[in-house]
Amino acid sequence: MQLKKTLISAILSGLVFFHLPATASEFAEFSAFGRIVGGYLDTDEARYEGYDDEVSFSQQSLIAVQGDFSISDTLTVSAQLLAHSGDERQSGAEWLYLSYKPNVSWRFKAGKMRTPFFRYSDVIDVGFAYPWISPPQQVYSSYFFSNYEGVSSTYHFDYKQTHIELEAYFGIHDDEYSFRGRDIRLDVEEIVGLLATANYGNLGFRASYMQSSKFDADIPEIKEFSAILSAAGFQDNANSLSFDGTARGYQLGVNYDSLDYFWAAEWISIRSDVLTVPNVDSYYLSVGYNFDGIQTHVTYAGSNATVKAAQNFIPKGVNPQLDALSFGYDNFIDNLLVDSLKSISVGLRYDFMHNVAAKVEVSFLNGEPGEDAFFTDISTNSFDRKARLYQIGLEWVY
């Protein structure tokens, strides 16, 4: 509650703040962004992105300040501090890194950075940067570690009239989360990513690959159940719940913008050899038209998640204790998070100042019955995984 109050006052002071003239000197440059987002979900049977059937402004509202400090012509230190209103997001330093740019072609960074898996992953909090209020969850919630500590290198070059940027990054991630009501500690010892973008005029392509291995998620209920299985002598079943493995993510994207219209699409695929991390294929296609300063969009998004087949070695029908354990294992597998959801969103954006935009958006959600489908706190079994999310937002940069 105290955090919420602090945040609200931060946002209010931020509103005042962006009227002030820009603060820039040779040494330090400050910028900021923020958003106030309100939403309402038209069902009392579940939540989606934290929203339920009461209007809430404290799920996605946030404010952030960025400072870029030049040490020399080639060295810069950057920090981005964020205060977030959502329960599942922590406030604090999202970026903190040293950047070295020896020439126009190369850039190296070291420190804490956002992971650039998808087109908007590293600016997911900067609502001003994209047309939606809520970026398609099917794609943008597919990796829940949003930052890494490590190094990255970027190389730019022109091939004929195409501008190409190649980036490689390497790092680790260790953080605590509240994820869908559970407290989780996630420790990834190896994150390797490659990313290529190509821009030809206003046409852009993007491809990325990400591999995370040696990860460990400390989810108490899974650890405890695994220990019980192990103590009962079913080591294979116990091992199947371990997070020790590798997950790989693939992304392809294309976008085109013009004065009158735009379209953009992204497709992602996640493959893991860990039972508790499902395979996911997701995509979205967004098209929009600019009517006299009002940008519209229609976005169709889908995801298909599948849990890998688990082998249950615990016999049934031997004795009641083993039956309980065996059915318990089956039940655990059945209850793994699986998110298959199709959605259509329709939204408007109006930039009434060059750095302030107002948005409205309606999302029609159609989840796979029997799965979580990105819904949380599902209160009735009969919930058909269909709902509408209504949102309004104010986005600004400074």
Binding site: A129, Q161, L259, D292
Partner: protein, 138 residues
């Protein structure tokens, strides 16, 4: 958007004494200016998407009608989309927008005093010695 653009161009033609106001020239302060620069290269320089032409772009502020012409004729994007793009670049630590000036006079003065810079100006302006016109929208 198209109707706004047309209206804007129309108003420029009607209310300005000189119809050439809608023509933009790209001016550089360089002794080795490329002589056959293309429109797409101009766009790429100002959008931070060019690694081969070593010129530093400087621009006008978003309220400027000359900037509006540049967005329309060269970049091919709305101001809203350009601002979104720079927000993405800035807050992901990738790039920063060109330095901006409120008037063409202060812009011109800056370009004159800084070698290696490039900017856009109305074709009706007198271009001082030392600056080279490297592209015109006409």
């Amino acid at each position: 958007m198209k109707s706004v653009t047309l209206l804007f161009l129309f108003s420029i033609i009607c209310f300005n004494t000189n119809a050439d106001d809608s023509t933009l020239i790209i001016v550089a302060n360089t002794k080795s200016a490329p002589i056959d620069i293309e429109k797409r290269q101009v766009r790429d320089i100002f959008m931070g998407n060019n690694s081969s032409i070593p010129l530093l772009p400087v621009a006008l502020s978003p309220k400027s009608p000359v900037r509006f012409l540049f967005n329309t004729k060269i970049v091919g994007l709305t101001e809203s989309r350009i601002q979104s793009y720079w927000a993405q670049m800035r807050f992901s630590g990738r790039n920063k927008p060109p330095q901006e000036f409120d008037s063409v006079d202060s812009l011109l003065a800056y370009v004159q005093n800084n070698e290696g810079t490039i900017t856009y100006l109305p074709s009706t302006m007198d271009i001082p010695d030392g600056l080279t016109v490297i592209y015109s929208t006409e």
